[in-house]
Amino acid sequence: MTTTRRNLLKFVGGGAAGALLTPAPWRLITDSALWSENWPGIPRPAHGGITARFTHCTLCPAGCAVRARCVAGQPVSLTGVKPHAVSHGALCPWGIAGHHLPYHPARVRQGPVKEATAAVAQAIAQRGTGEHVAVLDLRPGRTVSWTHRRAMAAINGGLYLTPRQPGYSIDLAAAKTVISFGAPLFDGWGTPGNVIAARSIFRLIQIEPVETRTAAMADLWLPIQPGSEFMLAAALAGNMTLAEAALITGVGEQALAAVQEAAESGQAVVLAADPASPLMSLNEKYGALGRTVVARSDAPMPEAWKQAAPEMSMAAAPDGAIRVLLIDESLPGGYIPWRRIAPKLAPDAVVVVFTSSNDGYARHAQFVLPAAVYPETAEDIGPAIDTVAAVFRIAAPLIAPVVPAVDPARFVERLAGLPASEPLRERAGAIHKAGRGTLLDYTAAKSTPVKDVTADNFWKTLSQGGCWMDDSAKRTAPENLVFPAAGEPPRDERPLTVVVAEPRRGGLESPLMSKLERESNLRLAANRVALSPDGARASGIENGDRAVLETAFGRLNVVVAIDPSVPAGVVEVAGGPRMADLCGGNGRARVVRA
């Protein structure tokens, strides 16, 4: 037999025919289809025993009780704890995905700890007379806040700065009518479960220019001309006729009369988006002070802690005199625009921020040190605006820290030369000693009076995500409640009023928030603004266009959504540090096509 081309072809043909009669090709076809189930990049969830662990959410002052479903110890999903006296088993979308934060790709993972320590020490040593060391605590009222305050008291010229605090609590259950001037009741104002549980009791009148989630849930929504809230308040206070107010606010006279009637029919409370707003003074008229607006109560604390620096607002701090500013941004809180802070700094000031996010003060500080995030550390949560009885609840860590984080309290303690302490434990001891209130043990699903619990068990239960709650005391009116008078807004020729329709605290949020912000349009993403069809047309902007939001303080690149529910002359934005730096509350802005 000779090897010809033809024979070679026949050989190959025979081979092909033969191969088809073997399992090989068929098996390869099926195997490759199975390979598509397992091709690289598809992660395999870890398996293991399933347990429930408990903690409290630290993402906002609400501090909702959290039940974590853990697989082999690792939390894989979070739910509320029901039944719960305050949080009622509810969690907000941020809280539901809180266990993703340690793995956030944008997290601050490392920082110049040594350099920052040296620079701070040097600045303290070299500071001139009248120059201060200050801590800015974005979430005052926590136990570590007291550490900060004690440390600042120990340092000569130490200041303890905080954002403006309400200084009162709201007992929603005591209200029959809630007149809300843009307070985002259903979107971050208080404890979600508490607001929802109280919702069936009160009638909600929401006064704000755009239909936010809260306005959509209100019994009555009054779409008001942006910026004219004080006129409406003046009319309610009787300082202006309803007809005049109707003309200015754009709210019909009848609607105003209805609000007035509801407000005066008893048990009304006025709430405002800014808890320190002058609008809150209407509560005096409606007799809400001491009934709905009540004094805040704090959990007992060790006597020794009272040696602490007083809370000071940023405005009260002396100009150009802060040589060292330590910003505790480990938990997101009320962001103070940088333009209010910058004038307070000395020319060669050292600014250190403890944070997990690059979005806040990290943009302004010299030293950015990584802070731990929820649920990595044990800490307590300051009081929420709508909890009346004092509470002490600990966010028990659910996972080991993913990055080497710096504890701001330890840093400040060391700076002040205070001995290292276990403040949470000390405070738990003080609470136990006071002997009041009840201990909620989520693991055992029971509550026990504190006096029936040993100190050790009390601490053990708390440190596993338990909660202490004070007995309901007699409501008293808040003391020293002073609301500043309404100031004149600065003149600004820009055509649009900025309305923050999407409250946002800043800080990290789960990457899965893309479901709400990009994969659907349920929430306004940080880089998006909404314009009315008319407003967009005036600027020559189409839906989805890139544009620049321009205010007196700067510019921001945004994507525009056109939304007929936005009134003309308004640009809806999402809150957050960048927006706060750009315009603060209700500024004026212009949107220009990019």
Binding site: M1, F11, G14, G15, T22, A24, W35
Partner: protein
Amino acid sequence: MTGGKIAFASGMLLALAGGWLAFPRVLYRTHPQPVDFSHKIHAEKAGAKCEDCHAFRDDGTYAGIPTLDKCSGCHAAAMGTTAEEKNFIDRYVTPNREPQWLSYARQPENVYFSHIAHVKLGKVKCEQCHGNEGGAATLRPFAQDPISGYSRDIWGRPVNRIALRTEGGMKMDDCVDCHRRQGLEYSCLGCHK
């Protein structure tokens, strides 16, 4: 002309031989188990039953292959004289390192299989699916299909997919056979996740 026929036939024969004889051998990649564990010895000498080591957790999930602490309970020091035991103690027990057992029966991620439902409600014996693993004196090598990544026990044994008798096993066909016989076959998501 005959030359052509011979060429055709020889090509065919070669392919047939390759496909039927060589292919099944090269398809699977075998890996030895980290320790040559003898189920037989443990069953006979220690009188262990399957569920003594392969236990359920409190929540009803199946814990699978026991972890090292279960072994260390008895084997903190050598109990016998075999080299394999000494090896096991030196390499795993003393340094407290988990042996990386290769599970013959690990189902694909997309399979939901509840041991407790089968054992407790269905009264299925371990051997019915796993075969007489408990009586084996030695651990056979772990054979894996490198393309699909699945163990030979759960996917594609025998390679020609012709089974003369319906036997217990852990392939989807085996599951479906048994469920179908008992009228317990409803939907994909009954057993997939």
